[in-house]
Structure formats: structure tokens, C-alpha cells
Symmetry: C2
Subunit: 165 residues, 2 copies
DNA sequence: GCCTAAAACTTCAGGCTTGAAATAACAGGT
DNA sequence: ACCTGTTATTTCAAGCCTGAAGTTTTAGGC
């Protein structure tokens, strides 16, 4: 119990290394993702005076000229409702988006980019794409499709502990 | 093979799609990583009453019976010094690690797991490896090595904006 | 119309994270 | 011994994030 060693060399002679390799893959994923995120966050802060969460919100709204409800926004970004409340509040304070009432449902809020917000995001988006292209420059064209396909299979379906309860 | 690529006579004619693909790869990386992180964080919280940052600190210290200095710890985990201060404070409060003076340098702090900390991590580590193995169960054995190799090339070397200044 | 359950948000406490500023201690030169 | 610059660490403000609890409004059943 004190050391995570391969316990049963008899039957699981091949299963153990594979699980180790999966763990290694996971650590590399984390490492790579965090390195790039750190880079983007830093430059977003120093050169664009913004943050990744703000960028994500602007990006989601940019393709929706009519805006989104708070709950749609949080579902799309996969963050909690309360989280979106705060980010939207700050972005609205900065003049990049506006909150509108939803006709027929006084509980709901529709949130939409202002013109300033559209212009703001357009500038950041071009920078962002170029920057990501550069940071992933190591990956050649023919490697992209397979890598995308592989990652698309991770974290989606029911790899639940209970095989499908 | 899947995309009918013309032979790109012009310079920018191929650069654009590749950069789009790199962006797509980045978004998939983010998506997959966040999905798994969310899963692990949730179960770590509900089933082990802990968090990912705490787990990371315990993991780093587990392989170092003599402990680590605060600065070594933050360098290893690639987070700020101030961040580590807080996490270590909480873990020490919970009795899982202890802070010792460093002989010959009264500025420095050595941090080491207690016996309770070792036992605590040993339990979580087995769970963690099994859980990651399950969450990445979609990835077959023969895909692991190439994927690991590809990710190892991301986020490391100088893909800096200034090509080598 | 009234009641209850559900939905859309917000608020809050607690924790994580960073970058900047503050403290304390060391190291080297004079 | 005294400065000066550097190193190790903590402190702090601000933001991000979650899950839980609270508010207001809607929808459905009666």
C-alpha cells in the first residue's frame, strides 16, 4: 500500500504498462496545454490587457449577433453560471457587451456584443489565430488531422466508472 | 488523404488552412484536457475530499523523501511561488506535510510529507492512475507512443514570436 | 386563482492563480 | 564592518472557478 507497484505480474502482465502509458499521455497533455495557455494568457495580459476567460466569452458572442442567454453562454463555455455572471459583469463594465431583457421571460438575460466589443474581439482573434499557429508550428500539416481525430475521442463519451448505469 | 489539397502554387494559399487546422487542434486539446480535469477534480472532491493542486503537491513530494524547497516545488509544478505558499499552508494544516528549516540558509524552507501524507497520497495515486486509465480508455495501446511523442513536441522549445532574438 | 416544482440568474464562501511588492537573509566587494 | 545586489519566501489585490444557497419568475396541475 505504500508503493504503487504492479501488483499482479501473473495475469495483468500487459495491462499494467498500458495504464502507465495512458498516465504518461495524460501528463503530456496537461503539460502541453498548460504551457500554451500560460503563453497565451501572458501575452493577452501584457499586449492586449485582457484574459483568457474574457476572450472566450467574446469569442462565443462574436458568432452570435443576436447574443446569448447567460445559461447558453455558460453551457457553451462549460463553466458555471455564477462564473459567467462575474466575467460578463466586468466586460459590460468595460463597454464591450450589453445585457438586454428577454421578451416574455423576465428571469432571463440576453447578452450581446457592442460595436466596441466586436471591434475588440476582431483584433484579438487575428492575433490569437496567428499566435496559436506559431505555438503549434512544430506540428506538420499531415499530422494535424490524425491528432485532431484522436483528441476528439478523449473526454467525450461515457468512460464512466460504472459502465453505463 | 481526406482533404483534396491542391498543390499550392501560391504562398498564402496553403498557409491559411493549416493555421486553421492548428487552431482546431488547439481547441480540441483544450476541450479534452478540460473535460478530464473536470472529471478528476469532481471525483477528487466528492470521494477524496481534496483538490487537483493539492494532489500535484503531494505527488511531487512523494518521490522525494527528503522533501523539497518551496522554490523547487513551484518550479517543478510550474506555478508561482505565492501559489505554492497557500497550498502548502493548507496541506500542513491538514497534517499531511511539514515545513523544516534548511540548515545553513535561514531564508529557505524545506517541505516534506509526513507519514500521514505518504499514506494519503498512496491511496489517491492508485485511484488516480486507474481513473486516468479509464478516462483515456478510448486510446488503444498502439496509439499511445505516437500521441505522447507528438504532445512532447508542443509547448517546449522556442516557438517565440521573435524567431530567435 | 392558488400551489408547487422547476428554471434563470445572482450571491457567496472557499480555494486556486498570477504578478507585484514587501521581508528577510545571504554573498561579495571594499 | 558596511554596502549592494541577489535569492528565498510571504503577502496582497484582483481575477477566475466551483458548488451551494438564495431570489425572482414561469409553468403546470388542481
Amino acid at each position: 500500500m505504500s508503493a504503487p507497484e504492479p501488483r499482479t505480474p501473473d495475469r495483468a502482465e500487459e495491462a499494467a504498462p498500458v495504464s502507465k502509458q495512458r498516465l504518461r499521455l495524460w501528463l503530456r497533455m496537461l503539460e502541453a496545454t498548460r504551457a500554451i495557455e500560460a503563453r497565451l494568457r501572458d501575452e493577452l495580459r501584457t499586449e492586449h490587457d485582457s484574459t483568457l476567460p474574457r476572450f472566450d466569452v467574446l469569442a462565443a458572442l462574436y458568432r452570435r449577433p443576436d447574443g446569448l442567454r447567460m445559461s447558453e453562454l455558460s453551457a457553451m463555455l462549460k463553466v458555471s453560471n455564477g462564473n459567467v455572471t462575474g466575467i460578463v459583469e466586468r466586460l459590460a463594465g468595460e463597454g464591450y457587451l450589453e445585457r438586454l431583457p428577454v421578451e416574455g421571460d423576465r428571469r432571463a438575460m440576453r447578452v450581446r456584443l457592442t460595436e466596441a466589443g466586436r471591434a475588440r474581439f476582431a483584433g484579438m482573434a487575428a492575433w490569437h489565430e496567428a499566435r496559436v499557429d506559431d505555438l503549434l508550428g512544430n506540428i506538420d500539416a499531415e499530422e494535424l488531422d490524425p491528432a485532431i481525430a484522436l483528441l476528439a475521442r478523449i473526454g467525450r463519451d461515457g468512460n464512466d466508472r460504472d459502465g453505463g448505469a
